[in-house]
């Protein structure tokens, strides 16, 4: 089967993009086919002719890229650029002049700089009052008012703070007094000894009271005991008496045998 390269292969051959093997095959094919070879050679010649078409030199315009719907492009050189830009400038100036005429625009320059004004001349009075002195006095007034306001607020806060402090003092007067009291060692010792004395007195009183009470209690107890003993003694005596009586009685009834007799 004879080899016939397709147009894509011939293009690759033209641009020397074939592998060595493919290149050999195409070369062999062209050697065997004069028509195909002629065609290819003519194309190669034409490519050289096409190379005479040089690039045009152009100046790129500067683009302003932003996110608005249109991108602003300032065109560079163009055949009609000068005419178009002149017309545009002239149109803009005419428009400005018209606007200025209808809005009674006035432009004046003085010591303060360039002044632009619109409408009637009453506005000039307003403009003249805005001089350096006016601004300084305005600033002073503003600062003074600001300071006054600040001072008022500070005094409010202070009085509020004082009131709060008084409340707290009233609530914690003892501890406050104690806290604020300058502690003296002698006073402390005196106080401590006073407390000690008081305590001792209390204890002594307590002991005295308790001693008295105890004594009374003991007395009562002794009396009770004595009474008890007395009563017991009495009971015992009565019992003995009883027994004796019964014994006597029994002896009278049943005389006691002389045990000697029983022997």
């Amino acid at each position: 089967m004879s080899y016939k390269p397709d147009e894509a292969t011939l293009t690759s051959y033209l641009y020397d993009e074939l592998s060595k093997e493919e290149h050999k095959k195409v070369k062999a094919y062209l050697a065997a086919n004069s028509e195909a070879k002629k065609e290819l050679m003519e194309i190669q010649s034409m490519q050289k002719f096409m190379g005479k078409f040089e690039d045009k030199e152009v100046t790129e315009p500067s683009f302003v890229f932003d996110n608005s719907p249109t991108v602003v492009v300032s065109r560079g050189k163009s055949s009609n650029y000068f005419i178009r830009s002149t017309i545009a400038v002239a149109a803009s100036l005419s428009l400005l002049i018209l606007v200025g005429y209808f809005t009674q625009l006035r432009i004046s320059s003085g010591n303060d700089g360039l002044l632009l004004s619109f409408g009637n001349s009453d506005s000039e009075e307003l403009n003249t009052s805005l001089n350096e002195e006016g601004i300084k006095s305005w600033m002073k007034e503003t600062l003074a008012a600001n300071n006054e306001d600040l001072l008022g607020r500070i005094s409010e806060v202070e009085s509020g703070f004082d009131a709060k402090t008084e409340q707290l003092r009233a609530a914690n007067s003892g501890t406050k007094q104690l806290a604020s009291y300058k502690i003296d060692q002698d006073i402390v010792d005196k106080y401590v000894s006073q407390i000690t004395q008081e305590n001792r007195d209390i204890i002594l009183n307590l002991m005295e009271i308790s001693g008295r009470n105890q004594k009374l209690y003991m007395d009562d107890m002794m009396q009770d005991f004595a009474k008890f003993m007395e009563s017991q003694r009495q009971n015992d005596l009565e019992e003995i008496q009883g027994h004796l009586t019964s014994f006597v009685n029994s002896q009278e009834v049943n005389p006691v045998e002389d045990y000697r007799n029983s022997e």
Binding site: Q47, V58, S78
Partner: protein, 210 residues
């Protein structure tokens, strides 16, 4: 034909510039315009052969570039992507011109010795007095000849012969396979040869070297 210049090398390594442009840096965007404006203008100019139309389309291309650059995922594809945008605008302009055209470019060859070329009013002015007449004539002939190719062939011929794009880049720009691109190019060159022969532009008549 398309020698690699310092500018070409710069363009090849413009990754940082493109990624900065994607972030919205105006400086980077303007630098991209500076790098690519001439190339895109000349590509479009060869396609539509009119200065004002070429400027308009080139401007539209860069505006579209600004609006869509963030969508470009692979920075390496910037070149074919930009050419694709320009090509689409060229196609759009062609369709508009077809609707509005009243006079078409005609090339008449009266006999073997004499040649008459009439340039239609729909096309722009080819001739710049500052340049040599011969150069201007050659450019005019080439422009008009390219204009006679169909859209697909014209695009591929200009991209390969004048813009020096690789076949892979052309394929990507035109959303076609490499084989298709190569086939179109071969047929385009063959047809262009036929058009030039009809204009009596051959090796013998124009004295260009083999």
């Amino acid at each position: 034909m398309h020698a690699e210049s310092l500018l070409d090398i710069t363009m090849l390594h413009a990754d940082t510039l493109i990624s900065n442009a994607q972030k919205g840096e105006e400086k980077a965007l303007n630098q991209l315009v500076s790098l690519w404006y001439k190339r895109i203008y000349n590509y479009v100019h060869k396609y539509c052969s009119d200065d004002d139309t070429a400027a308009e389309i080139t401007q539209q291309t860069f505006i579209a570039m600004f609006r869509n650059i963030k969508k470009l995922k692979d920075i390496d594809r910037f070149k074919p992507w930009l050419y694709r945008i320009a090509t689409n605008f060229c196609y759009e302009e062609s369709r508009k011109q077809k609707r509005n055209r009243t006079v078409s470019l005609t090339v008449t060859k009266e006999d073997e010795t004499e040649e008459q070329i009439e340039v239609g009013e729909a096309k722009g002015n080819f001739f710049n007095p500052e340049r040599s007449f011969q150069q201007t004539e050659i450019e005019g002939i080439l422009l008009s000849s390219l204009g006679e190719l169909n859209e697909d062939q014209r695009t591929v011929v200009i991209m390969k012969e004048y813009e020096g794009l690789k076949f892979t880049e052309i394929a990507e720009a035109l959303d076609a396979s490499e084989n298709t691109v190569k086939t179109r190019l071969y047929r385009g060159l063959k047809n262009l040869k036929g058009i030039l022969e009809r204009k009596n532009i051959t090796r013998e008549t124009v004295h260009y070297e083999l």
